[in-house]
């Protein structure tokens, strides 16, 4: 069972509700589900965060190790993002090699963090072409209640914000120090339900959605990353609308992520 087809009557119901400005869980079209951020959830990691968005839960662990820089970027450290879709979190997730969903999730989260220059990778360089920090961002999806991209990205940002560089343990410094986070990108996803576009879709809404769009914004007013998913299209006006809405939600969520 890799993919389960949703009941057509359910999809129709969700789209009909959206047309009248309603959603199955009683939210408005532009409302998020409750968001909670718990940084430092895993004590053995260099940085971690558990994020809940409604019924979705993602745990992010950050690990820093020393290694050799890539040949084409001798003066920069390495950032690598990986996503694990745990079979317990959804009937559609199977053990085994990463599925396209997992690859998309890690790539889209990675893109926002990289493009926003959340971490100045040149500061992760210890000795040019010789030694640098490798920063692993590992995302574990614990519960799939929809909108995994935004949930995972919030977890990644919170984990990085509270991460420590273990310099002493690796013998490249006198003491450990906090990882410097320069920017705070926030991703915000929408799906199309009929002629309406709703934010933070649930599992059911994603299944019923006719096109998904994700917009990552940073705190200085840049759009740093985008991703279009699922079958369905958005007009140029609709894309502009989602960008404007993403900025508003981004400001609010950024405050939650930073206050945690």
């Amino acid at each position: 069972m890799s993919e389960i087809v949703a009941a057509e009557i359910q999809t129709t119901h969700i789209v009909d509700l959206a047309r009248s400005g309603q959603r199955i869980d009683g939210r408005g079209l532009d409302d998020w589900r409750p968001v909670t951020v718990e940084p430092g959830f895993v004590k053995s990691a260099d940085g971690s965060a558990l994020v809940h968005v409604g019924a979705s839960a993602v745990l992010c662990g950050v690990k820093l190790e020393t290694g050799k820089p890539f040949g084409d970027t001798p003066n920069a450290g390495v950032l690598t993002t990986n996503a694990e879709l745990i079979p317990l979190s959804s009937p559609t997730f199977e053990p085994g090699p990463p599925q396209p969903t997992a690859i998309e999730l890690s790539r889209v989260v990675d893109r926002s963090i990289r493009a926003a220059e959340t971490i100045d990778l040149t500061k992760l360089c210890v000795a040019p072409a010789e030694k640098c920090w490798i920063c692993y961002v590992d995302l574990h999806v614990l519960d799939h209640g929809g909108n995994l991209i935004d949930t995972a990205q919030l977890a990644a940002l919170a984990a990085l914000t509270h991460a420590t560089v273990p310099a002493k343990r690796f013998g490249v410094g006198e003491a450990d120090y906090p990882l410097e986070v320069a920017h705070f990108p926030i991703e915000c996803s929408f799906v199309r339900l009929g002629d309406r576009i709703v934010v933070d879709p649930t599992f059911e809404e994603e299944a019923a959605g006719q096109g998904r769009i994700t917009v990552a914004t940073d705190e200085v007013g840049n759009v740093v990353a985008m991703q279009k998913g699922k079958v369905g299209a958005f007009s140029p006006d609709e894309v502009v609308e989602t960008v404007e809405r993403a900025f508003q939600h981004g400001d609010r969520l950024r405050a939650i992520a930073r206050a945690a």
């Binding site: 069972m1 389960i4 087809v5 949703a6 009941a7 057509e8 009557i9 359910q10 999809t11 129709t12 119901h13 969700i14 009909d16 509700l17 009248s20 309603q22 199955i24 009683g26």
Partner: protein, 236 residues
């Protein structure tokens, strides 16, 4: 009862959620024990759907084959619905999609279970058939008895007071038809049952909730297919 706890058998036979080792009986799931002739069984607090023969379940068509459909019924495997188990058994092989297509929802009954885990379902039976209109809601399958209530009292109350029509599947899927407001109130009731199903006085709290959220008229349509189906189950 915790898994592994010993249960006094009181002279009854081991039922759901129990196992026998030597001369003693133990719980295999988390829940509370009931002793009712002829079985001692554990009513689980939570868990996935475990199919039993005669269950009415809501299935969603996932695939159409030459002579059967494959339904997702929230069980570990898709359940085959053979054309001979439908009113359309004269349909030529390969033309089944004129009756049911991928994405259609149906109310079916579990007909046979085999040791390999295959669950055969049938569409022949009173109240069974394709579900059109409305939507599908979910509760934990362990809460279905609470949703139905004693003699169907709970579900009757809910449908009457919200003006909806409901078909309850033992697999935790509940088909609801009605206006958007009615469906929302049913959804809220189900959530209340799911969260507070363990505490006494549930019926009163549901009544209170319905008083609070809407008109108290009893003019809703008589719940049709569900209640007939359900009635059979409740008496079983």
């Amino acid at each position: 009862m915790l898994p592994g706890d010993e249960i006094p058998d009181r002279g009854l036979r081991p039922g759901f959620g129990t196992y026998r080792m030597g001369s003693h009986l133990y719980a295999s799931v988390l829940g509370y024990a009931t002793w009712r002739e002829p079985f001692v069984r554990i009513v689980p607090f939570a868990g996935r759907y475990a199919a039993r023969t005669g269950d009415t379940v809501v299935g969603i068509v996932q695939d159409v084959q030459k002579t059967f459909w494959l339904l997702d019924i929230d069980a570990p495997r898709w359940a085959p619905l053979h054309v001979s188990g439908t009113p359309w058994d004269e349909t030529p092989p390969g033309e089944l999609d004129q009756h049911l297509r991928v994405g259609d929802a149906v109310l079916v009954a579990v007909e046979d279970l085999d040791p390999t885990g295959r669950i055969g379902v049938t569409l022949k039976g009173e109240g069974l058939g394709r579900l059109s209109g409305g939507t599908i809601l979910h509760v934990s399958p362990a809460r279905i008895p609470r949703v139905i209530g004693k003699g169907g009292s709970m579900i009757h109350t809910i449908t009457r007071r919200t003006g909806t029509e409901v078909a309850v599947g033992q697999n935790g899927r509940i088909w609801v038809s009605g206006d958007a407001d009615g469906i929302r109130r049913v959804r809220d009731c189900l959530r209340l049952i799911e969260e507070e199903g363990q505490r006494p006085g549930l019926t009163e709290r549901i009544e209170g909730f319905l008083d609070m959220t809407g008109p108290t008229d009893g003019a809703g349509p008589a719940p049709s297919l569900s209640s007939e189906q359900g009635e059979r189950r409740w008496e079983a």
